[in-house]
Structures are given as structure tokens and as C-alpha cells.
Symmetry: C2
Subunit: 387 residues, 2 copies
């Protein structure tokens, strides 16, 4: 099979599932009905024991692996880790990747029509918490008839969902793989998120979130928000290697009065990234997702004691961090590991040397892949696969 | 004297000096005339050998020490270091502190009237380089009849000016004190500055820099720019100690749909800081200053070899850095020290343990004060003062 040779799951077709029973949310309100868009890779086995759930991060979505069209230049966002022979080996596992509710890639979110008004939800979409995504994912699990995931895996905000699963539905997973994540955000992280939100809500085209009704988009604000995110997901060394202080034009335009032009490569790159994002992502979704991130606090209802929180878990854990990640620093991962050890839970931990900052979790760094592969081999053994 | 007892220079009155001969700038254009607002502390001695020039940072100004009115709640921005008995001891030194050209606190800058148009300069103000400030400061030196400064001292962008002095006018200073600075910005620093500029220029009230002609201010953009700066001038640990994840209201407003409210203390603090700044600082000045920062590259004209650059200096150097400063990290200061050592120049270096990030240079941290005091004692000895 070509697919196996190149390690790609090949062409995938997203599916959509409609849920017409109300989903009660942490805020007390309910979504009267909702859609979930998803992709699957690999085959569910006879006893449905080989399911792996992928939880996406802030700007992620269901398209994690493979391509949609033969001429797609870019595969899904985690194609480096999902596919035949890859750490999340689709020759062995059945992988489910969904777009969370509140998202803007096909699942019900602020751009969807509110059935009560006939207009887009916009700012009226209910506030979401990480646990709402877990409950929505739980409905998907039931749809597939799966009673226990082989693993739930996520990076960043995705890792936060995986940990929440381990507390809320301990019997529903055997392994929880938490990559570049944290039990709660730092004040600095909250501050960066606040700047991103402020950039969006200050955009004159934001119209208090009702931009779709005004046939416009707060593009500049969203681009700015993304630029802030982008800098903070990269490491200083990574940026230095990528851009240094390279000038776009090869020389300083000292004679010009128009100093506002883009002159350094890094400025050009950031503007491109920001603008590309602002054309493809929904501003209200960005607000919802960052608020869910800020509020996440694994141990809040457990006397602020992470060990007490994890005492409810029954699965095994793998925690991975990256040396230059300063948004979700290795110290945050070690706090998770310490809490798991204090709760007497099985946990493996790897800190990976990487120049790529927080973005490292998306990149096939050899030692990261080796560690990830090695852990996933245990899951294959549990499934009775010969290695 | 009360002033000596409390270590304050007391009440100071800013002065303004008008220069009516054109000042040619690095960009090739000239300022036909300009004003400099300044303050002085202490007395110039008979042979004019005790002068100390203070160079200010991005959002700084001439008001470095003392108070303007008896009921001022806050003294000048570097009152911790300037005054009787303080490291920059006004019982010994004559201290000059100016607002740089391009500034918005009284010296000629974008808010001043362009004599050719009768309107505010606004975006037509010439782009500035650090060396322009040095030349403008050189004119002030001549005005006071000083031929050699005992020291030129600056933090951050101020330190960059002090280093430029040492290369451009080597005989004009005996000591160069460079605090929390760098020989050039990193790509990450440029990126943060680009976000700040983008926030300003995206504000609908920016009007391509002609907001004064429209009787408005790009307040939201400037507030956002300041918020970005503020986060990055603090350390993560400093923010954690200051705010933790404290909630403003004491509880999470999970039931509310208005998720955009300020709920964490850190959000409230940042908004306050941003808004206060946006009412007192000029947006075009912010653009000018950050561009000067980005362009600064000490060794650009010296074959990119900092040691070759410093080979032109004849003064002694003191370099100070702070452990948690990640905008102007200790590694950047060590690069300065290494270049000075390679150029066989006398240099002292201190890395100070501090939780305050880049802002540490403004704070009277005991070891910082001790080190600063000790170095300044040498200058007093050179002046023949008994210790």
C-alpha cells in the first residue's frame, strides 16, 4: 500500500454527526442540538478496544492527519504523529479526531445558526469549559460503541482535555498522554490571552461579536491576536535561527520617511501568519477557547490539591515537555508528574531538547518520536499485537 | 538639609532649551529647529568635570528624579538611583536628564508643530536613530560647557545610547554604565515591537498618524501596545508573585454569558496600565522609538564585529544585568562584556538576582544598589572626593 510506504493515511473525508438532544454545559445553559465534524483513521477492531481519541489545541480542528484532496500541499496538523508506522500507528489503532464544540471548522460554534433566532450564535454562544468538550467527546465515544479508549492524547489545551477525561471518566481510558500542557495557566499566559482578546474586541469591525450580522470580520484584531500567540509559541532561539535580524530588502531604508514599512523578515512572517489566520478562523471561537484555557484549573474542585484530583484517575500517564517551551514550560509538566507520583499513579515523563518552543509538540523531533513510539508500543502489546 | 535626609533632590523645575540651527539626522533629513526639555540635579563643579548624563528608555523622559509639586505622589522614574547619598549622588555629581527628540514630554517630537506646515509633525516627523539622540545630547553638553562627562548612564534603550556615545565621541566620557541593555535586539524583541506598532496603526483612530488633526487619539491601540510591553518587561515569576491566578470577583462567573468581562487580577492590572499610558503618551513617538530600538545594531558599521566597534572607545565600562530579564537577558549583557574584553577595554560586570524582569533596572534591589554605589565610588575618587 502506498499509504503505508509514505506513512500517510492518504485522502480522508470528514464526516458530520448531528446530536439532537440538548447538551447541558458547565455554565448551566444547554446547547439544544449540535453537530460534530470528525475524521477517523485506521479501523476499529472487533472488541472496540483500539480507539484513540485526539484532543485538539486552541486553533486546532478535526483534520489531524492525511489530506483532503490529491493536490493538498499541507496534510492535517498532526500528520507527523498519526499514520501507518507513526507513533499513533493507524495500522493498529482506530483514531478519532473531532472539532470541538465552539469551534469554527464545522462543529457547532459561534458561526453556526442559533435555532432560537435564526441568526449566527456569535457572542451569544454559551461560554465553554474544558469539561464541556469532554462531555461532547463522550457522546462521540458512545456513538462509536467504544467503552474504553486505548488512549486519549493531546498537546497543550488538548492535554488539558485528556487530563480532565482521566478525572471525569476514569474507566473510559487506559492511557492519558499529555504533551506540552499544564494543570492551569500562569498569570503570564492569562495576560497574553487577555491581550489577544483585547486586540479582537478593539477591532472596529468586531461589533460586540456580531460581525457576521454586519457582513464583516474583525480581521485586523484577529491577525494581531494570532501574531501575539505566534511569537509566544516559538522560542527566542528558534526565532533567532529562523529569522535572525534578516532584512527583507537587504538594506536599511534609512533615507525613507515611511518607517512603518516591513523591513525585518520576522515582521513579514508574522504579518503573513496573522493575516492567513484571520481569514480562516472565527474571532468569537478564539475568545471562547482562550477563556476556557484561562479558567482551566485541574485541581480547583479538589481542594486545590492536584494529587487529590489525580487520585480519581485509574489510567496510566505519559507526560512530555520541551525545553524551550516557555508558554507551557517543562516546570508545568513536572508539576503534573509530581502530582501523579504523589497520587501513586503510573507515569512516564520525558523532557525533550528542542529549539521550537511550544510548537515543538507538532514537529517530528527524533527523540520525541522515539519516546512517543516507545510508549505507544506498550499499548500495542496490551492489544496483543506482535512487535 | 531635608533633601539630603530623605535622599530626594526635592522639587525640580524642568527647563527648556531652544536650538535654532538645523540638526542633521542619520536619515539625511534635518530638524530645522528643536527644543529640548531637561532637568538637572546637583551642582556643576568649577572645572565641569562632575557631569553625569542620564539617557532614558523607550517610554522615559527628562523627569528622572525628585518631584514637580509638593503633592506629587510619584517622583521621577529613576528616583531610586538619583539623589543625595544614592548611587548617582547629587551631593557629588551634576546630573543632566533630558527628554530625547522624537519624545512627547516637551522636547520636539511628532506632537510639536512642523514649522513648514503649521500643523503637528505627526507621521512626517523624520525617522530617528539612536545616534541622533547622541548628537542632540552632544549639543546639550556644549551648552553646559562640559567637555567630558564623568559618566553616561542608561538602562535598556538608554544603555544603547550610552554605548553609542562611547563609539561616536570616545573622548567625551570617562565611564559608560550600561544596564539591562543589548548590542542589538533579538528577532523576538523585534517581533514584540512589531505587534505593538501594529496595534497602534490598526486603531481606527490612528488616521495614518494624523490623529491630532482629527482631534482624536488611537487610545485603544496604544493601550494594547503598552500591555504587550508591560507583560514582557515583567518576569513570569514576578507576575506569579504579584497576581497568581487571583480572581477580581473572588469566584468564577461560570453562569454568565458575558465571558468577556475582566475576571483575573492580572487582566485588570494590564488594562489599567494600558489605559493610563494611552492618555499620556504619543502614539507616533511610540512608533519612532520602537523603530530606533529595532534598527540599533552597535557593530553594523564595524564589520559586524562588536570588538572592533568597542576598539574605538576609551572610557571604562560597567555592565549590569538581571536574572529574570528576558527582553534584555543576561546573555545579551555578557555579549557586551565579551566584546569589551576582546577589545581589551576595562569593564566591570554584575548579574543581579531579581524577580522583576526587565523592570528590575528601575527598582532599588539591595545588591544592585550596592554594586552601582561601589562603581560610582570610583568616579568620586577620580573627582578627588574623600569617601
Amino acid at each position: 500500500m502506498t499509504q503505508e510506504q509514505n506513512g500517510s493515511v492518504g485522502i480522508v473525508v470528514p464526516q458530520t454527526l448531528h446530536f439532537d438532544t440538548p447538551l447541558t454545559l458547565a455554565c448551566g445553559r444547554a446547547l439544544p442540538e449540535h453537530d460534530i465534524i470528525y475524521e477517523t483513521y485506521g479501523q476499529l477492531n472487533a472488541d472496540k478496544s483500539n480507539g484513540v481519541l485526539i484532543c485538539h489545541a486552541l486553533s486546532g480542528h478535526h483534520h489531524a492527519a492525511g489530506i483532503h484532496h490529491p493536490d493538498d500541499r499541507k496534510p492535517g496538523w498532526w500528520d507527523s504523529c498519526i499514520g501507518p508506522g507513526k507513533p499513533i500507528d493507524t495500522n493498529v489503532f482506530f483514531v478519532l479526531s473531532i472539532n470541538n464544540i465552539g469551534g469554527c471548522n464545522g462543529s457547532t460554534g459561534p458561526t453556526a445558526i442559533n435555532p432560537e433566532t435564526g441568526k449566527p450564535w456569535g457572542p451569544d454562544f454559551p461560554p465553554l469549559r474544558c469539561r464541556d468538550w469532554v462531555e461532547s467527546q463522550y457522546l462521540m465515544m458512545q456513538h462509536f460503541g467504544i467503552t474504553q479508549w486505548a488512549a486519549i492524547i493531546g498537546g497543550s489545551l488538548g492535554g488539558m482535555q485528556a487530563m480532565r477525561w482521566a478525572l471525569e471518566h476514569p474507566d473510559a481510558l487506559r492511557h492519558c498522554i499529555v504533551i506540552a500542557s499544564a494543570m492551569k495557566l500562569s498569570a503570564q499566559n492569562i495576560a497574553f490571552n487577555e491581550i489577544a482578546r483585547r486586540a479582537i474586541t478593539s477591532d472596529p469591525n468586531f461589533f460586540e461579536g456580531r460581525y457576521l450580522e454586519h457582513n464583516t470580520l474583525p480581521r485586523q484584531g484577529l491577525a494581531l491576536a494570532r501574531m501575539v500567540g505566534h511569537i509566544t509559541y516559538l522560542s527566542e532561539d528558534g526565532m533567532k535561527q529562523k529569522f535572525g535580524r534578516e532584512l527583507k530588502t537587504g538594506n536599511l531604508t534609512l533615507g525613507s520617511g515611511s518607517d512603518s514599512d516591513v523591513e525585518f523578515e520576522v515582521e513579514s512572517y508574522l504579518r503573513y501568519q496573522g493575516e492567513a489566520f484571520s481569514g480562516s478562523f472565527d474571532a468569537n471561537t478564539y475568545l471562547l477557547m482562550t477563556k476556557a484555557l484561562d479558567y482551566y484549573d485541574l485541581a480547583r474542585e479538589y481542594n486545590d490539591d492536584p494529587a487529590e484530583a489525580f487520585s480519581h484517575a485509574t489510567c496510566s500517564f505519559m507526560v512530555i515537555s520541551f525545553t524551550t517551551d516557555w508558554r507551557f514550560a517543562p516546570a508545568r509538566s513536572r508539576e503534573i508528574v509530581d502530582a501523579l507520583v504523589a497520587a501513586n499513579k503510573p507515569v512516564s515523563y520525558a523532557q525533550i531538547e528542542a529549539d521550537h518552543g511550544h510548537d515543538a509538540f507538532l514537529i517530528p523531533i527524533p527523540r520525541y518520536m522515539d519516546v512517543f513510539h516507545a510508549y505507544m508500543k506498550r499499548l500495542k502489546q496490551e492489544l496483543g499485537h506482535a512487535l
